[in-house]
């Protein structure tokens, strides 16, 4: 047991717990018993809060441990996270504004709410909602993987149920203050998380290269390691087979980023369009952080860091690379701060994700199918309970099932959330794609994506299925037709599945439009997509007086 680290971790954890409970009263409206308040923090976050909230939401603890672990294990291919986060913001800059405006004008809380309003189809909304929940659940479980990597490095490396006990305690505390404070809790805690993370990464990225003899030494050590392995795909540069995979994975991940319900939650919680525009320019500051952090994977190679063996599974856990690097290279007081930063980094996204999943459940399943006349207070109550269920589902996942399945499911989650792109993102611009065509495209994209993922082996770990998201083009098989037979060039599965989805949606739309099938009623108007915080006669937030809400921060 490492006492210095542990005491610091517990103190910082206690500090954010207090913040989490106090957050309920921070800039609160008249009541928390409304989804606008509990689930979207009153829709009034300013530029700074939004920056910390969305940043805390997208750059998760799992990212912090898994991306460097990828570079440590495979080299350049793991660096895709940087181009991914570079293009994500210019890509969503315009659609996100339309999403915010229409949601503000019509009172939408989830992306599925929008789909329901746009197409008058509760079925399409249900499909989008379920896809969102299924994609988010393993993501929450992965935050636990990140948290557990830190706990195991601090000495809590037991087997069986007791090995998971610290994790369970941390999550019960998290569940309680999320239940009480809603989105305000992670919004405030994100400040602490990000300040700690920035501090740790900047120190690590300046101090460690100096200590280890500079970047050329570090890249040299990485190159020696990859040259010595039999695997042809690793190395500090890309090769001719994985360049397409690198670009399509970055592009596909960027497309998927703002389709995830928790990203939409962060966006809808902001006060206005200018807040979002400013954030699209300011959020890349986290990309810089992520890129630097990724390079720590190579630093760990140069420092000779070894992953510790997880006593619960009996395998070396690659995700412990970064905690172990800090353990070996830093004095224990600093390692403790680093561990707390990663640990708190798991809590913020886990809270936001569970709130987003709870909102989806409440708005698009409960209110739609279980209790149509639910009042706002009943909606809020239902969402609070759903957030508890979602979090404990994630804990059960980690405790009783091999965490490897959470990683597999997250891989699948990224592919299936992409399949909601036509119904959510394209629908922001046009209703040309027919609602039944969207259902057909979604089903095809989903099934095909799953089939392709199932067929990908991973020779490095000896797994026959779900071995990764890189599909060799030669394996592409469309009803027996192999357009690229024999090719070893790899491509991202999600990208291929989305192409199939779009193709089906377009063809079915063309056919169905000749048959006079109803395309539903669009309740949104052209003006809805342009409203801003100062627009006259906006729908009141959480049933309050229609005065303009006071901004949370000046910006």
């Amino acid at each position: 047991m490492q006492w210095v680290e542990l005491i610091e971790f517990v103190l910082l954890f206690a500090f954010v717990t207090v913040i989490g409970f106090v957050a309920a009263r921070w800039q609160s409206g008249k009541t928390l018993e409304h989804l606008d308040e509990w689930g979207l923090g009153g829709r009034k976050f300013g530029s700074w809060v939004t920056w910390f909230l969305v940043g805390g939401d997208l750059y998760t603890a799992y990212t912090f441990v898994a991306v460097p672990a990828l570079l440590f294990g495979a080299g350049a291919t793991g660096f895709f996270a940087l181009p991914y986060t570079i293009i994500a913001y210019p890509l969503v800059f315009l659609p996100v504004l339309r999403m915010w405006s229409v949601s503000r004008a019509r009172g939408y809380v989830t992306p599925a709410d929008f789909v329901r309003g746009r197409y008058g189809s509760s079925l399409l909304a249900l499909l989008v909602a379920i896809t969102g929940i299924v994609a988010t659940m393993p993501y929450i479980a992965l935050q636990l993987v990140g948290l557990e990597a830190v706990l195991r490095s601090m000495g809590f490396n037991g087997g069986g149920f007791f090995g998971h006990l610290p994790l369970l305690i941390a999550f019960i505390i998290l569940a309680l203050y999320t239940y009480q404070s809603g989105l305000r809790a992670p919004a405030l805690i994100a400040f602490v998380k990000d300040i700690l993370i920035y501090l740790v990464i900047l120190v690590a990225i300046i101090y460690l290269p100096i200590k280890l003899g500079g970047w050329s030494e570090i890249f040299g050590a990485a190159e020696d390691k990859f040259d010595a392995t039999p695997a042809p795909a690793d190395g500090i540069l890309l090769n001719s087979n994985n360049q397409l995979q690198y670009a399509t994975l970055a592009f596909g991940s960027a497309l998927a980023l703002f389709l995830y319900p928790h990203s939409v939650t962060g966006v809808l919680a902001s006060r206005g369009r200018d807040v979002l525009k400013r954030n699209m320019s300011a959020l890349p500051a986290y990309s810089l952080l992520l890129g630097l952090l990724a390079l720590l994977g190579f630093v760990a190679i140069a420092a000779g860091t070894k992953p510790i063996t997880n006593n619960a599974t009996g395998r070396p856990d690659g995700n412990t690379i970064i905690p172990e690097l800090f353990n070996g290279q830093f004095p224990s007081w600093f390692a403790g701060i680093a561990f707390a930063a990663i640990g708190i980094g798991a809590l913020v996204p886990a809270a936001i994700m569970s709130i987003a999943a709870a909102n989806l459940w409440t708005r698009n399943v409960y209110k739609e199918y279980v209790r149509r006349d639910a009042s706002h207070a009943q909606e809020a109550k239902q969402a609070k309970i759903a957030s508890l269920v979602v979090k404990f589902g994630a804990v059960v996942f980690i405790v009783f099932i091999d965490p490897q399945y959470a990683i597999d499911l997250q891989l699948i989650g990224g592919v299936i959330i992409l399949q909601t792109l036509p119904a959510v993102a394209i629908a922001l611009y046009t209703r040309w794609l027919h609602r039944w065509a969207l259902v057909a495209g979604w089903a095809v994209g989903l099934l095909w994506g799953m089939v392709m993922l199932y067929g990908i082996p991973n020779p490095a770990t000896g797994r026959a299925h779900f071995g990764g998201s890189a599909l060799a083009l030669g394996k592409l098989n469309i009803f027996g037709w192999e357009p690229f037979a024999g090719s070893t060039v790899q491509i991202y599965v999600g990208f291929v599945a989305l192409a199939g989805n779009l193709l089906v949606a377009i063809i079915v739309s063309l056919v169905i439009r000749r048959m006079n099938v109803s395309n539903g009623v669009d309740e949104t108007t052209g003006e809805d997509y342009h409203v801003d915080e100062h627009t006259e006669n906006l729908r009141p937030i959480a049933g309050e007086e229609p005065t303009r809400p006071a901004p949370v921060t000046s910006s």
Binding site: F79, P83, I86, P90, A247, G526, E536, L538, R539
Partner: protein, 93 residues
């Protein structure tokens, strides 16, 4: 493609040529132009520092688009009532 009604409200698709700047950062998807070792910068292969370099490029593009497409706020006569629920609440301000 800009359309507005008599009250100055915007509707439909609004396109501004400045928005095209948002395409520039996508250069980072063209791996063949930077997948190489040299020139190195403080010991870092071109592959890595080139991608870091595109971060400020992306930031610059989004800032320019933000500045150039900013609308001047119009504070004149109240516009259309957005929805029936707010009819009985009186108008804002």
């Amino acid at each position: 493609m800009t359309s507005g009604n008599s009250r100055g409200k915007v509707s439909g698709l609004v396109f501004n040529p400045w928005n095209l700047l948002l395409i520039v950062p996508f250069i980072v998807l063209l791996t063949p132009i930077y997948n190489m070792r040299s020139p190195e910068f403080i010991g870092m292969p071109f592959f890595y520092w080139f991608q870091f370099l595109i971060i400020p490029v992306g930031v610059l593009c989004t800032i320019i688009v933000f500045r150039m497409t900013r609308k001047v706020r119009v504070d004149d006569a109240p516009g259309e009532v957005a929805d029936v629920d707010s009819l009985d609440e009186g108008s804002e301000r």
